[in-house]
């Protein structure tokens, strides 16, 4: 029994003809993209490739000049609250007067509805989300007193507490320590294994093959997309990164 109002309901994320422009030069050009449900997908590309812009446009934070986006067949407006979003850590002021648990509870504000304050139930769910990331002992810390990796884990806990089928993360591993990276990746893999779709803007090509099973290579246009073992090839990397490639590990002898 299918809902005919849905468009491409078999894709966790479906993007078609998406073009975004800041001023003269397009930041994203004619993006066609499909990410199936239940994968852990890396969005990679050089600096300025439009990785963050892509997810911001998908989430409706940036207005595209053309194209459309669907999550599980729905427009973004119908999927609010069912997508966990983790913005870049540096997008907020960490000196804001609030605690780690308070930030995590923000992930529940939408489900609470207008005028209602988070209560004991919200508190328990926030604590559980913090515990998933090993942060339960820091619940009452002021957020500026946390290390960068701990702040990132708090951000992830805020998305986790929504229990959403789709998670979208913007550079969650940028500037975090090795132990935080391991904790975050372990959690994301568990979420993937429980059927959720995890979409991650990722900057470290050396770890793409071990962390992810799906990838999108981007440089203003889509260079390649699909399972990592098919997409992570010297030709694609050269097409996406060009001269910057000397800095990057290239898989030996074509497809791995």
């Amino acid at each position: 029994m299918r809902d005919d109002t849905l468009h491409e309901p078999d894709q966790a994320l479906h993007v078609e003809d998406l073009t975004v422009s800041y001023g003269a030069a397009p930041a994203l050009w004619d993006i066609d993209l499909d990410i199936p449900p239940g994968v852990m997908c890396a969005i990679v590309g050089p600096n300025g490739a439009g990785k963050s812009t892509l997810i911001k446009a998908a989430l409706g934070l940036v207005r595209p000049v053309a194209g459309h986006v669907r999550f599980l067949g729905h427009e973004i407006g119908a999927m609010r609250g069912r997508i966990g979003y983790v913005p870049q850590r540096h997008s907020v002021d960490w000196d804001f007067p609030t605690t780690a648990r308070d930030v995590v509870e923000m992930g529940l504000y939408r489900s609470l509805g207008w005028f209602r304050r988070p209560g004991r139930d919200a508190r328990a769910r926030a604590m559980a989300a913090l515990a998933e990331l090993g942060m339960q002992d820091y619940a009452d810390r002021q957020i500026s007193q946390l290390s960068g990796g701990q702040q990132q884990r708090v951000f992830l806990a805020r998305a986790l507490v929504q229990d959403a089928p789709i998670l979208v993360l913007d550079e969650p591993l940028a500037g975090v320590d090795a132990s935080t990276e391991a904790i975050i990746i372990d959690l994301l893999k568990r979420l993937r294994d429980s059927g959720r779709t995890v979409i991650v803007v990722h900057h470290d090509l050396t770890t793409v093959q071990s962390y992810f099973d799906w990838m999108v290579m981007l440089n203003v246009r889509i260079i390649a997309q699909g399972p990592v073992r098919e997409v992570y090839t010297p030709e694609n990397l050269r097409a996406a990164y060009g001269r910057q490639l000397a800095m990057i590990a290239v898989p030996e002898g074509g497809a791995a």
């Binding site: 934070l61 979003y85 007067p97 609030t98 923000m106 504000y109 005028f115 304050r117 002021q142």
Partner: protein
């Protein structure tokens, strides 16, 4: 105390006192959000942009009618906010440049209108200049009801939309991704700031009004790490500054209330910046000194351990002067005594030298090793 009682017996002083305290509370509460959203200077632009509205209100009403003057102030203030939003969205100018342009253009128009009205408007227009720096004595009891009403409405809105305002102030992108009407919530906060400014025009004036938005919030932030506490404290500091400023200016002839209120609020900021536990300068200086002392204790032990290792003798008697040379600077003599009291070193003699010598105890050796690994771990 009798002086205070005498002062309070005056109807004017009572009115000004209550008015200043209410204004401080309102602007303190709303200023906390403005400061956290890094919009404190927007308040300054709005306040300056109120001046042309004051003159227009006078021209339209043809008299010094407070209702039309405040309506005019609110109108041009809102127009300024709108102009700024349009400038930052449609041009490549950044917020600070847009603020500067809007503030100065609106204020210039205001001054031109003011001088024109004063030259042509006759006696009734004489009082308009008081809106530049405020004139507390002009406040009427009926004005207090307006202020109280606006204050209650603002308090009600803030309480009802508490979690939404908190979320928007902390992370507007996340709020938008969650489907909250972020633009509307931000507009509500800005409109309430504009209302607070309009309320404060008579008392503090357009030039200094922004101080009442920023100062209580900046002071309150020093004392607490909770948003609720910060907003409450900010309102309290604002009310206290208003009341204290009104009383001080009432005791002395020729002290304008508005500027005195601003000075009292600024004093609260200075005290808070210096003394608040955790974030205050004095507190941080003390903490830094304690940390320095701890490190140099550790360095003394590490230096002794190094000497012991170099001489292949765990009980090597290190001469005090030599330790000073090894550390680059002689530690205070009391520091060795303190280490001795903690059982980390013991005094020994090393004939024929008569100078003080020190030896690591087993506990001191453990402490030295712990210091070494500690600093090694700090990456």
């Amino acid at each position: 105390m009798t002086m205070l009682a005498d002062l309070m017996a005056s109807q004017i002083v009572r009115t000004v006192l209550v008015g200043a305290a209410m204004l401080g509370a309102i602007s303190g509460m709303l200023g906390a959000f403005a400061v956290l959203r890094r919009q404190s200077l927007l308040g300054d632009a709005l306040a300056h942009a109120a001046l042309p509205g004051v003159c227009l209100g006078f021209l339209v009403a043809g008299a010094r009618d407070l209702g039309s003057i405040l309506a005019g102030a609110f109108l041009t203030g809102s127009l300024a906010a709108l102009a700024m939003m349009l400038i930052t969205r449609t041009t490549r100018l950044k917020t600070d440049a847009a603020l500067g342009i809007v503030l100065s253009v609106f204020f210039a128009v205001g001054v031109v209108l003011l001088t024109h009205v004063q030259a042509t408007g006759g006696a009734a227009s004489a009082g308009l200049a008081s809106f530049l720096f405020g004139q507390a004595a002009a406040i009427l009891v009926s004005d207090l009801w307006i202020m109280g009403g606006i204050g209650l409405v603002a308090l009600g809105v803030v309480l009802a939309l508490w979690k939404e305002f908190k979320l928007v102030s902390f992370d507007a992108d996340f709020a938008r991704a969650q489907g909250f009407p972020v633009t509307m919530l931000e507009a509500m906060l800005t409109i309430m700031v504009a209302l607070a400014i309009v309320v404060g025009l008579q008392l503090v004036g357009v030039v200094l009004m922004v101080a009442l938005l920023i100062a209580p919030a900046a002071a309150a932030r020093q004392w607490t790490n909770r948003l609720g506490m910060m907003v409450a404290l900010s309102a309290l500091i604002g009310a206290g500054s208003g009341a204290a400023g009104a009383l001080i200016s009432a005791t002395t002839r020729g002290l304008a209330t508005g500027p005195v209120v601003v000075l009292v609020a600024t004093a609260a900021v200075l005290v808070s910046l210096a003394l608040a536990p955790g974030r205050g300068l004095v507190w941080q200086a003390l903490a830094a000194r304690r940390a320095r002392a701890r490190i140099s204790d550790g360095r003394i032990l590490a230096a002794m351990q190094g000497l012991a290792e170099a001489h292949d003798d765990p009980h090597y008697p290190a001469e005090q002067g030599m330790l000073g040379a090894a550390l680059g600077k002689a530690p205070a003599p009391g520091q060795f005594d303190a280490l001795k009291r903690r059982g980390l070193i013991r005094a020994v003699t090393h004939a024929p030298e008569a100078t003080p010598h020190w030896q690591l105890t087993p506990a001191g050796q453990r402490a030295a090793r712990a210091t070494g690994t500690d600093t090694g771990d700090k990456t």
